[in-house]
C-alpha cells in the first residue's frame, strides 16, 4: 500500500510541469479574456462596462464582414479540398500503381511549407504584373491582366486556391491511413459481384471512411475559422476588408488601431465558443466509433 502511494506521488512529479503550463498558458488566459470582454478602455487602463462590448458586436459591420468572409471560405473551399483529397487517396491506395511513393510525397509536400511562405508565393504568382497574368496573356487567354488581389471575389478565390494547394495533401494522408485499414477482401467480394470502380468508391470506400471524413471536416472548419497567416500575407484583408478574417480583425483591433483589448476580447470569446462547440461535436463523433 505504501509503495502504491509512493508511486502515485512520483506520477504527480511526472505530470505536474506539463499540467501546470497548460493551466497557466491556456486556461488562465481564456478566463482573463472572458473578464476583459466586460471591460472597456484603451491600452491597459480598463474599466468594468458590463455587456457594452457584446452589444457593440451586434452593430459592428466589420465583425459581420469578417465572419461572413470566413464562412465564404469555408463553404467554397472545404468541400472542394476534401473531395480532391478523397479522390487522390483512392487513386494512391491502388497497390499496382506505378510511382506511388513519388506521387504521395509530391502531393504531400506543400504541407512542409510555412503558411507565410506559401501565402507569399501565391501572392507573387498572382500579382497584377505577376506570372499567372503574364502566362495567360502570352497564351492570348487574357487581353488585360486580372487584378487578382484588387477585386473582392478574385481575391477570395485566390485565397481559396491557395488554401486548397496547401491542405489537400494533408487531408489525403488522413484518408490514405483510413483506406489502409479497410480489408481488401471487401473490395474483392464486391468485384466478384460485379461492382464497378465508381460503385466500389461510393458504396464501400465513402461509408467506411465516414468517421475520418467527419473528422477532417471538423479540423478544416476549425482551421478556417482561425485563418490568419494567409489573409494577412496574400491580401492583407483587402480590398476594402472583403477578405478580412476574424482572427485578423482581432489582431487589428488589438495592435493596429488604438488598442481596444476589451472589445477584441469579446470577439475572441465568440470565436472560442464557436470552436469549442465544433470540438464538442468532434468528440461526440469520435465516441460513436
Amino acid at each position: 500500500m505504501k509503495l502504491q502511494k509512493k508511486q502515485a506521488m512520483v506520477g504527480w512529479g511526472f505530470v505536474s510541469s506539463g499540467a501546470l503550463l497548460i493551466f497557466i498558458f491556456y486556461f488562465y488566459p481564456i478566463i482573463r479574456a472572458f473578464v476583459l470582454s466586460f471591460q472597456t478602455g484603451v491600452g491597459v487602463n480598463m474599466q468594468y462596462a458590463g455587456l457594452f462590448n457584446y452589444r457593440r458586436l451586434l452593430t459592428d459591420n466589420l465583425f459581420k464582414t469578417s465572419l461572413t468572409n470566413v464562412f465564404i471560405y469555408l463553404v467554397l473551399q472545404v468541400p472542394v479540398m476534401l473531395t480532391l483529397a478523397l479522390i487522390l487517396a483512392n487513386l494512391l491506395n491502388d497497390r499496382t500503381l506505378k510511382y506511388r511513393g513519388f506521387f504521395r510525397t509530391v502531393i504531400f509536400l506543400p504541407c512542409a511549407t510555412s503558411l507565410v511562405s506559401y501565402a507569399i508565393i501565391f501572392r507573387s504568382m498572382f500579382a497584377l504584373d505577376g506570372l499567372v497574368n503574364a502566362l495567360l496573356m502570352n497564351l492570348n487567354l487574357l487581353a488585360q491582366p486580372i487584378n487578382w488581389i484588387g477585386h473582392p471575389w478574385t481575391a477570395r478565390l485566390l485565397i481559396v486556391f491557395a488554401l486548397t494547394w496547401r491542405w489537400t495533401g494533408y487531408n489525403m494522408i488522413f484518408y490514405l491511413s483510413g483506406l489502409q485499414n479497410i480489408d481488401h477482401s471487401i473490395y474483392e467480394a464486391a468485384m466478384i459481384d460485379g461492382a464497378g470502380g465508381i460503385d466500389r468508391f461510393t458504396k464501400i470506400t465513402i461509408p467506411l471512411l465516414k468517421p475520418i471524413i467527419l473528422l477532417t471536416t471538423i479540423i478544416s472548419t476549425n482551421g478556417t475559422i482561425q485563418l490568419f497567416d494567409e489573409t494577412m500575407n496574400i491580401t492583407n484583408g483587402g480590398p476594402a476588408n472583403s477578405t478580412l478574417s476574424v482572427s485578423q480583425y482581432i489582431y487589428k483591433l488589438s495592435f493596429h488601431y488604438s488598442p481596444r483589448f476589451g472589445y477584441a476580447a469579446a470577439i475572441s470569446f465568440i470565436i472560442f465558443i464557436i470552436v469549442a462547440f465544433l470540438a464538442f461535436i468532434q468528440m461526440k463523433v469520435g465516441d460513436q466509433r
Partner: protein
C-alpha cells in the same frame, strides 16, 4: 459452354476501357503532382532571377542568385534572423519534448482516477483557439518584461495537450515488463524513464520533434505580436516584411522565401514517415 465465353469484340472493348481509365488516372495524378510542385519550383527558379524577369514569367534559372543574396543581406540582418528562428524553434522543440513526454508517460504508467480526470481537463485546452488567448498572453509577457525573448516565444506552446496525448498513447505500446524488471533491479522511477523509455521510444520522439519543430519554425501570429525589436525577428516576420513596400523585388523575395522553407522541406523529405504519423496520430 461456348455461349458464355466473352466474344473477342467485347473483350477488346473492355481492354480499351481499362486502358483509357488507367490513362485518365495517371493524367490526373500527374496534374496534381505538377500543381503541387510548380509553385515551389517557380520559387527556386525565381530566386536566381532578376525581379523584372520574374514578373515577365521567366521559367528558367538565371545568374542573379548572388546579386539577390547581396541585396537581401543589405536589406535585412539575415544571419541574425535565421539564427533567431533556429534557436527559438530548437529550444521550443527540446522543451516541449521533455515536458510532454514526462507528462504523457506519467499519465499512462501511474494512471489513477485523479490523473485520468486531469488528463480529460487538459484535453479541453485543445478547444482554445490562439486568437482567443493572444491578448491576455501578450499582456502577461508584457508585465513579466519578457517581450522579444526566446522565453516568450517558447513558453505558451511548451506543453500542449496534443503532444501529451501523443506520448500517452504511444506509451501504451511500451512493455510494462521492462519497467517491472528495472524496478526489481533497483532503478529509480525517473531513471527508468530516461535510461529505458527514451531509447526505446526513439521513433515517437522523432515524430513529436518533427511536428513541434515545424510548428515553431513556421509560427507567425505570436512572434508578430511579441517580437517588436528588429534583432528579435524570425524568418516568417522577415519575409512578411519584404512585401510591405511599394516596389517588391521578387528575386530577393523568392530567395528569402526559399531560405525560410528549406529547413522544413529538408526535414520533411528525410522524416516524411514521422511527419505523417504525427498528423494522423489524432485519429488513432
Amino acid at each position: 459452354m461456348k455461349m458464355n465465353m466473352p466474344t473477342p469484340a467485347i473483350e477488346d472493348k473492355r481492354m480499351t476501357k481499362r486502358k483509357v481509365l488507367k490513362g485518365g488516372k495517371y493524367t490526373f495524378l500527374c496534374l496534381a503532382a505538377f500543381l503541387s510542385l510548380f509553385p515551389l519550383l517557380w520559387m527556386l527558379v525565381s530566386a536566381t532571377n532578376k525581379s523584372v524577369d520574374v514578373i515577365t514569367g521567366r521559367l528558367i534559372p538565371g545568374f542573379y542568385l548572388g546579386e539577390n543574396l547581396k541585396t537581401l543581406l543589405a536589406k535585412a540582418n539575415l544571419p541574425r534572423v535565421f539564427w533567431n528562428s533556429l534557436r527559438n524553434a530548437s529550444v521550443a522543440t527540446i522543451a516541449s519534448l521533455i515536458v510532454c513526454s514526462l507528462a504523457g508517460y506519467g499519465f499512462e504508467v501511474y494512471h489513477d482516477r485523479k490523473k485520468d480526470f486531469l488528463m480529460g481537463i487538459l484535453l479541453l485546452s485543445m478547444m482554445v483557439p490562439f486568437a482567443a488567448i493572444m491578448i491576455p498572453l501578450f499582456m502577461m509577457f508584457g508585465r513579466l518584461n519578457l517581450l522579444n525573448t526566446t522565453a516568450a516565444f517558447v513558453l505558451p506552446t511548451t506543453s500542449t495537450a496534443f503532444l501529451i496525448f501523443l506520448f500517452r498513447q504511444s506509451t501504451r505500446s511500451f512493455p510494462k515488463e521492462i519497467i517491472e524488471a528495472a524496478r526489481i533491479e533497483g532503478m529509480k522511477e525517473f531513471g527508468i524513464f530516461f535510461r529505458m523509455y527514451i531509447p526505446i521510444m526513439k521513433s515517437t520522439f522523432a515524430t513529436a520533434a518533427v511536428i513541434t519543430f515545424m510548428n515553431a519554425w513556421n509560427s507567425y501570429l505570436w512572434p508578430l505580436i511579441i517580437m517588436q525589436k528588429e534583432d528579435s525577428k524570425t524568418m516568417p516576420l522577415l519575409i512578411s516584411n519584404l512585401i510591405a513596400g511599394y516596389t517588391i523585388d521578387y528575386g530577393v523575395l523568392m530567395l528569402a522565401v526559399t531560405l525560410s522553407i528549406l529547413p522544413t522541406v529538408l526535414i520533411f523529405l528525410i522524416l516524411q514517415k514521422n511527419f505523417a504519423d504525427g498528423i494522423i496520430s489524432s485519429i488513432r
